[in-house]
Amino acid sequence: MIIRGDEPEQIKLLRKLYKPGNYFMQGNEAVAYGALFAGCRFYAGYPITPSSEIAETMARELPKLGGYYLQMEDEIGSIAAMIGASWTGFKVMTATAGPGFSLMQENLGYAVMTETPLVLVDVQRSGPSTGQATKGAQGDFFQARWGTHGDHPIVAVSPTSGQDAFWEIIRAFNIAERLRTPVVFLFDGILAHTRELVKIPDVDEVKITYRKLPQNEEEAKLPFGDPHGDGVPPMPLFGHGYFTHVTGSTHKENGLRDVYTPEVHDRLVRRIHRKIEQNRHVYEKYEEHFTDDAEILVVSWGVTARPALGAVLKARREGIKVGLFVPKTVHPFPGERMRELGKRVRAVLVPEMNLGQMILEVQRFVNDDVLLKGVNKIGGVPLTVEEILREIRGVA
């Protein structure tokens, strides 16, 4: 019943439909194709600029693969339907932008609490509210982290190009499945609508993972336990006779509700946190350029990492010892590496298309004697190489 991306029949179809080679495509299309390669066979969403091409591509392609595309009545329903489909064993995705991401927060929390794998693409656009609907931004950095209520961990991945988006969405699915957790994919309106070269690989080059399933009755009866010590419980699927009970209320290892025993809540929520903390190797990822001898460090992410790299290259030609650090998994933030790098430099610049969000994470890991400065731009227009270069020269 489950349509898995690694079945021979599906691999044959993928090869037939998406020939390896170079394509000129939109970032949004790259996300959609990446998701199909990752094994996503269920999509539920609600149209919103600048994410709609992801829905449109999935609506066109999923039926060819025997998969499911549903346009729901709103974003609340979209993520709900995804969670339902995830419990029958499907890899699931939705894509939205700020206003829809806000509506999804309720059930994103439900997915965290019920440890439901899913990938939620937020194509960031200029807010607050409807803001500049068609313009890109990076203003949802902390919404991804803290948008839903209560103590919770979250994993968020942010790519820097169309090509990168293709591979990073696959990585996002692998993380979601490995850790039985929702993963937020922080894309943005600029990369989403930029057409550039995207190389589609052969299916064999794509490594995909599926969630752990219970190996015996005992594991199946503890869908929220930790039988392997890695914090990740195997996930019994609906329809297998296990009588699995799933609730967003506090529950015991067997899934049954217990909201009155403090220890039960403590154990559950701490294990969900530990699951993410102790599996850093599964998701931690960053890029570094010229950090070996850098005296000035630029820290940037997503779309802004590109002009940031341009500026660093130019500054290097001018003889300025500047490096670039780009977290690719932005939550949890790669703090340890940031701390090491921060010790070696005298200034850190953080360019981003918001009024200063990732910089607050950076601040947690660099000492007070390091000059820390944001390079911020809003209004829907990306930062330029010149603008960032000027700031680098300013602290050189």
Binding site: M1, I2, F42, A44, P63, K64, G66, Y68, L70, M72, E73, D74, I76, G77, S78, A80, A81, M82, I83, G84, A85, S86, W87, T88, G89, F90, V92, E106, N107, Y110, F238, G239, H240, G241, Y242, F243, T244, H245, V246, T247, G248, S249, L256, R257
Partner: protein, 282 residues
């Protein structure tokens, strides 16, 4: 014959012993409706492994936690949206959504009408107690004009929703409404609902003496049932009554029984159409 199995037998087969007793107050109607539903399942001989119970939040929504089935206890009002993903991706599973009136018609109103519009293959068992039971008796979108709740202490001034009527208008395949007093009709309706394709709904007027009755001079379940008998009119009789006489009454019975294709079938047809249009299939 078929309904003579003892309640103990039903209980032992279908309830999670470690979750008992239930949270329901003395006189609450939810337990009765749960029993009707389990008897209907038992009578139809449905496979316990192939039924998933979904719910939102509320007293009524706690039911999936008490039964030996797969269950998804979700967020307030959203059960049907969750159900859509389950049913579509595993059509072998039968979905029972146990919902409250506030859950269904207030916060979940949009999911409700759209699930019906899609003709999602699901059976909704609706507990209409005219109130927000779980949160202590605030008025609901079903509270009849003049009745009291903690948030309308001087009597409800808004118009109520007729949820069964809404479901008929939105296109459901099967819609019936009974009170918990209509034991046989209720079980028969649930059986019918469970046997059909597409969206089916059985609504029950269900006593909530604690949050609702108490505030409306009906402190006990028998008082509430007597009140139901006063305000309900069987459909056949209602058809012959002039509209003025029906004012303030609630019609009970089977409102619609039709066979429009359900979402699962429609989607499967859609996939076939896609393959034909791709030239892959004739």
């Amino acid at each position: 014959m078929m309904y003579l199995k003892s309640a103990y037998e039903i209980r032992d087969k279908y309830l999670r012993k470690d979750m008992l007793p239930t949270i329901f107050c003395p006189g609450c109607g939810i337990g009765s409706v749960l029993q009707f539903t389990l008897r209907a399942i038992d009578d139809l001989g449905l496979n316990q492994d192939e039924i998933v119970w979904v719910s939102g939040i509320g007293c009524s929504s706690r039911v999936p936690g008490f039964v030996n089935f797969d269950g998804l206890h979700t967020t307030h009002g959203r059960a049907l949206a969750f159900a859509t993903g389950i049913k579509l991706t595993n059509p072998n599973l039968k979905i029972i959504a146990f919902m409250g009136d506030g859950d269904t018609a207030a916060i979940g109103g949009n999911h409700f009408i759209h699930a019906i519009r899609r003709n999602l293959d699901v059976t909704v068992i609706l507990i209409n107690n005219f109130t927000y039971g779980m949160t202590g008796g605030q008025v609901a979108p079903t509270t009849l004009k003049g009745l009291r709740g903690t948030t309308a202490p001087y009597g409800q001034f808004e118009n109520p929703f007729d949820i069964a009527g809404l479901a008929v208008a939105a296109g459901a395949n099967y819609v019936a409404r009974w009170t918990v007093f209509n034991y046989l009709q209720g079980i028969n309706s649930i059986k019918k609902a469970l046997s059909k394709e597409g969206f089916t709904l059985v609504e029950f007027l269900s006593p909530c003496p604690v949050s609702f009755g108490r505030r409306n001079r009906m402190k006990t379940a028998p008082e509430l049932i007597r009140w139901y008998q006063k305000i309900t009119v069987p459909l056949a009789k209602a058809k012959k009554m002039p509209p003025e006489e029906l004012e303030g009454k609630i019609v009970i019975g089977e409102f619609v029984d039709r066979d429009r294709p359900g979402l699962v079938r429609e989607y499967q047809e859609y996939i076939k159409r896609a393959k034909r249009m791709m030239g892959w299939e004739q």
